[in-house]
């Protein structure tokens, strides 16, 4: 078996000659509903908020000008001033970092070394309990945030912290994931150019012990979505 790839593909092709696969269902008779498009901006926000809060996530609507103030209050309530954050240009509020620093916060966008020093850099991030990100989309039907990785966008900001604050804008609200996919024909190209993406629906959860729901197991225990009104 010198070339396992050729071996496997050859096996598949041989099997396909005899594969007794059942007939394909007729999809024209019973089509999937097209993505909803007639939800108003306030309906989208309401549905997103109700889905997220049903999962014990939190939802706030604030004027964009108060973004720094709200983030600072959330940090104070959680008794921390260090933030694992997306870089300034990736966040939907101009000048946010300066305002956060003025409020006594210490936002950090890491650049983990690719070889030496990697472990030390990760050790430095591990204790940070609060994360701050933007988002690429917010899906109303399920209360889901969509985050794509990229320059200035540490993925750990949404995953290795205990509380994750996501700042979103009304234009980022979509009724369904299908609607967002349809609105982003460049997405396949984007996903090839970036290493990762993440759909987040509420805080992390488990029911592995006696099917008892527990929130906050490895990912954040709190997901706080802040909708910024212009």
């Amino acid at each position: 078996m010198s070339d396992p790839r050729a071996h496997i593909l050859q096996n598949i092709r041989r099997s396909l000659q005899t594969a007794p696969l059942p007939a394909r269902p007729n999809l024209d008779e019973n089509p999937v509903r097209p993505p909803a498009s007639d939800w108003s901006a306030s309906e989208l926000a309401e549905r997103f908020a109700s889905e997220l809060t049903a999962l014990s996530g939190q939802f706030l609507t604030v004027p964009a000008a108060q973004a720094a103030e709200v983030v600072a209050r959330l940090a104070r309530e959680r008794q921390t001033n260090r933030l694992l954050a997306w870089s300034l240009e990736q966040l939907p509020v101009p000048g946010l970092w300066e305002s956060l620093r003025a409020a006594g916060l210490d936002p950090v966008t890491p650049d983990i070394p690719r070889a030496d020093g990697r472990a030390a850099a990760l050790d430095d991030l591990e204790p940070i309990t609060l994360g701050l990100t933007g988002a690429d989309a917010a899906v109303a039907e399920t209360g889901t945030l969509v985050l794509l990785a990229g320059p200035g966008r540490p993925r750990l900001a949404a995953m290795s912290v205990r509380a994750h604050i996501a700042l979103i804008t009304p234009a980022q609200l979509y009724p369904t994931l299908a609607a967002w996919l349809a609105a982003r024909p460049d997405l396949a190209e984007q996903l090839r150019a970036r290493s990762a993406g993440l759909f987040i629906t509420g805080p992390s959860r488990t029911a592995d012990i006696e099917m008892t729901l527990t929130v906050g197991v490895h990912g954040p225990a709190e997901v706080i979505v802040v909708l910024l009104q212009p």
Binding site: L16, R24, N30, V32, A193, T206, D208, I209, H218
Partner: protein, 476 residues
Amino acid sequence: MTTSPLAFHDRIETALHNPVLQGALDRNAERRIAGRNQRFGELDDIEAVRDRGRAIRLDVLARLDEHLEHFAAQVEANGGRVHWAPTAEDARRIVLDLVRATGAAAPRVAKSKSMVSEEIHLNAALEQAGVEVVETDLGEFIIQLRGETPSHIITPAVHLRREDVSDLFHERFGMPPTRDVEAMTALAQRHLRQVYFRADVGITGVNFGVAETGTIAIVTNEGNADLSKDVPRVHIALMGLERLVPTLADLDILLRLLPRSATAQKASSYVSLVSGPRRPGEPDGPEEFHVVLVDNGRSATLGTELAEALLCIRCGACLNVCPVFREIGGHGYGAVYSGPIGSIVSPALFGAQFNELANASTLCGACRDICPVRIDIPSMLLAVRARHVRAGQPPAWLKAGLKLFALGMSVPGLYRLAQFFGGLGTRLLARQGWIRSLPPPLNAWTLRRDFPAIPAQPFRARWAQRRSNTDAGPRA
């Protein structure tokens, strides 16, 4: 390859006499089925979504070679590496070589849940080679500490009580005995956090591979897959080679079905998309990304009457709804894949010694009705039973008995004779219409259920009587 040293009947007996397990299985079945039905009811086009999901998976299988080649080319174009593993042994060797290539003297692996890794017995192989491997899904973490295998593909520790977990954490971590599930979860969370941040390699499974973009999707609720793949320098993803969808839009369709069927959620907490290692300019993420495509019998299964089982998206709904699984649980099957679909996948991938699992079915069809991609599980269970018979595994008395039966059924006089004496005999042995015990070997039946007495007036006689009565009067 079996996960238990006991024979099938002994495993069943053990499960039936375990009251804790019986309670847990009942709770699991009732809650999961009710939740799944509620979630399906919320989507007015759910039947169309199921049809579409089935069509997507059928299209993938019908051109599996092309989709695989496309997927692999895209992964490599994105900077990932694809490894083709014809057998379980190949897959273990590939993973071990990749772990060793990190150069760590005592390599550490943070591992997220993967049924393929269970299937190829990866952990044992890694541990034997001196690699420390820690399961990070809470349920998997618990059963790894106990040296067990998963008893359910979605809730692997469903067979345990909180007291069992408390005892385990007391013994292993000195935790004071508690009934507080939150406290036990918090302890595991703190412990495993150190595992992610110390690991040289993260190993995850794959729920779906998207051929269009060379992206893998990993679905979890705990976020353990994310930390396992985002923190360590190397990410290895193990993937059964049939787990593809052509496009991102197709992924969206299957993501509507999977969490609703598996855990009664509209969406799982996390769907992680990975398309390659960390790119230039990105602040974090793994430097290496490897996809191990595991065949291990799948390409051969594609050419058999069990090919449809390869549509499976591993939601576990057929386990929850199965009256047999509900009594014996995952360990009862003694195979990595349990329940109705496991009774097909296990003999398909691991061989004839698992054919007997297909006998543990009432053929009630609940699995086919609940399957999000409408896999015809009962028909394939019959196909496995047919294999079992063709392989000459049934005992001689069964063959002789069936020959006798065939003779009786084809000669009307013999049939009436058998009916007369059978009726007489069973009525003599029965109390209030039921025979409660018989001598060996007939006690194989009465040990587990009663046998009804054959009525004095056979159906044919009653039918003839009914016909003559109704013919006399007006039709209802």
